[in-house]
Subunit: 324 residues, 2 copies
Amino acid sequence: MNIDMIRASAARAQGHVRRTPLLNSPFLDEIAGRRVWVKPECLQHTGSFKFRGGWSALSAMDEDTRKRGVIAFSSGNHAQGVALAAKLHGAPAVIVMPADAPKLKIENTRALGAEVVLYDRANHESREDIGASLANERGLTLVKPYDEPQVIAGQGTCGLEIAEQAAEQGVTEAEVLVCTGGGGLLSGVALALEADAPGMRVRPVEPDGFDDVRRSLASGRIERNASTTGNICDAIITPQPGDITFPLMQRLCGPGLSVSEDDALRAMAQAFLRLKVVAEPGGAVALAAALFHGDQLDAADVIVTISGGNVDPAMFARALQTLG
Amino acid sequence: MNIDMIRASAARAQGHVRRTPLLNSPFLDEIAGRRVWVKPECLQHTGSFKFRGGWSALSAMDEDTRKRGVIAFSSGNHAQGVALAAKLHGAPAVIVMPADAPKLKIENTRALGAEVVLYDRANHESREDIGASLANERGLTLVKPYDEPQVIAGQGTCGLEIAEQAAEQGVTEAEVLVCTGGGGLLSGVALALEADAPGMRVRPVEPDGFDDVRRSLASGRIERNASTTGNICDAIITPQPGDITFPLMQRLCGPGLSVSEDDALRAMAQAFLRLKVVAEPGGAVALAAALFHGDQLDAADVIVTISGGNVDPAMFARALQTLG
């Protein structure tokens, strides 16, 4: 896992993965008390950075492997990212989802051309068993959501863009806050910035109470979340850091931060009001840390990712209500 | 008024005006029955394309003129675009607004460094008189919202980007739908595309009942709107086409379209759902025409502007309700 893989992934992504802009607003700077730069990956294809990793994984396969198809376990952003990347490569995709996943997510994933296989969480069906037997039967390749070198390389292309776009604004030193689940985006961005913007320090942001990465970085060993449900920032909650991502985070990242659900909703509202972009709760945690937890930051410039924007209208309306 | 002025404006804008991306979604293509490309100027500084014109006007002035300052009449997007452009040039800006303008708009314009002068519509105070005496006293230069060559040149930079970004996607023939008020964005974009993408046809989109540009293009002379109030698409409603913009439209643009308020709200909801951007009602009319009035279009590819995203939370919530 190194910078050359990220640069190779970027070359394969050219013309396919969207180059998202780097946004800012004097109103956000005012709230934060420092300059805030926002990388809105909600504007990426399928509404999250996950398409970068999906495209990277598909485009790195040899033609025979790709033709047989891919499989992923996800009810969320990873599913859509892999589904669209497969479709655009003309490759079959099977997405394994719990039967009680939101209907809209199931429909969206199907609309992107994937075959959705549902499993019953209540009956203790194992998605791993279902997936393994499907993969075996059809010769499908599993695309893991973060603990997979080509996926990390794809997420890292976001970091290459940050380095370039920040430099255009004269910014070479900054704290870079990344919405973090398993650490694919975090470690990819950190690897890219180590090479292209060594004056930047990358730090994870998680929801309060689901801060496995922060705790793992503090203790020096992989810590688990007590639960992975019951928080509106569900899109970025995973059981624990990955085996590949964790050593990268340890080597490259500064201490983690965490924010409340209310912070995330208020950050969504500011993204609406001042940047005109739609953030999902999990996608807004890094912006929330920049705006509302400045006491834990040092740099004059802070760069934040908005990792995704796949939020239902009712939750978005709830965020808007924080504006009073 | 020619393409060289637009190219010169683009050179002055480099590093200051945001290059907005060109977005698309398979879900929007499905609704429209053709490929839809979206230029989201809501992501521009101050949340609308008006910053392009403001920057263009300020950056074209000689230093002495600029130092004395600028004045504009606007309670909306033009006010904010001129205010920020002036602030970034270190120039004073006076914005003349009705005393009953929404508080948030007055506050935003002040926060962008402008001096706001209020006039009383009820007492029949004339903003022109107030403006003229202020301009005279202080040597301020009036920046008109659309009927002003350097402003049109600035809006035209959006067209240069459309030509380039569409070509990157292999699109050189398309209908280009532009949200239209006085025609500054429309005529600027049309001039840019005449030069850089001659296979494209530019067409105005207006709210139903406020279609002065459509009627003017049809009759061959300047037609007025019966009223300029009473529609949620207020950001793009002006009394009539401009004296400079109208001949450009006549020479370069195809027939106009118009959409209902409900169409605009439904397009806002699709922009939220599929593109993760915030459109204001007036900013959504071109997307609405592409999605819901395809019977009036010919091309396999349609490119639409989202002209702005300055919408209050209550109106946005109303748009989300159309999703059911």
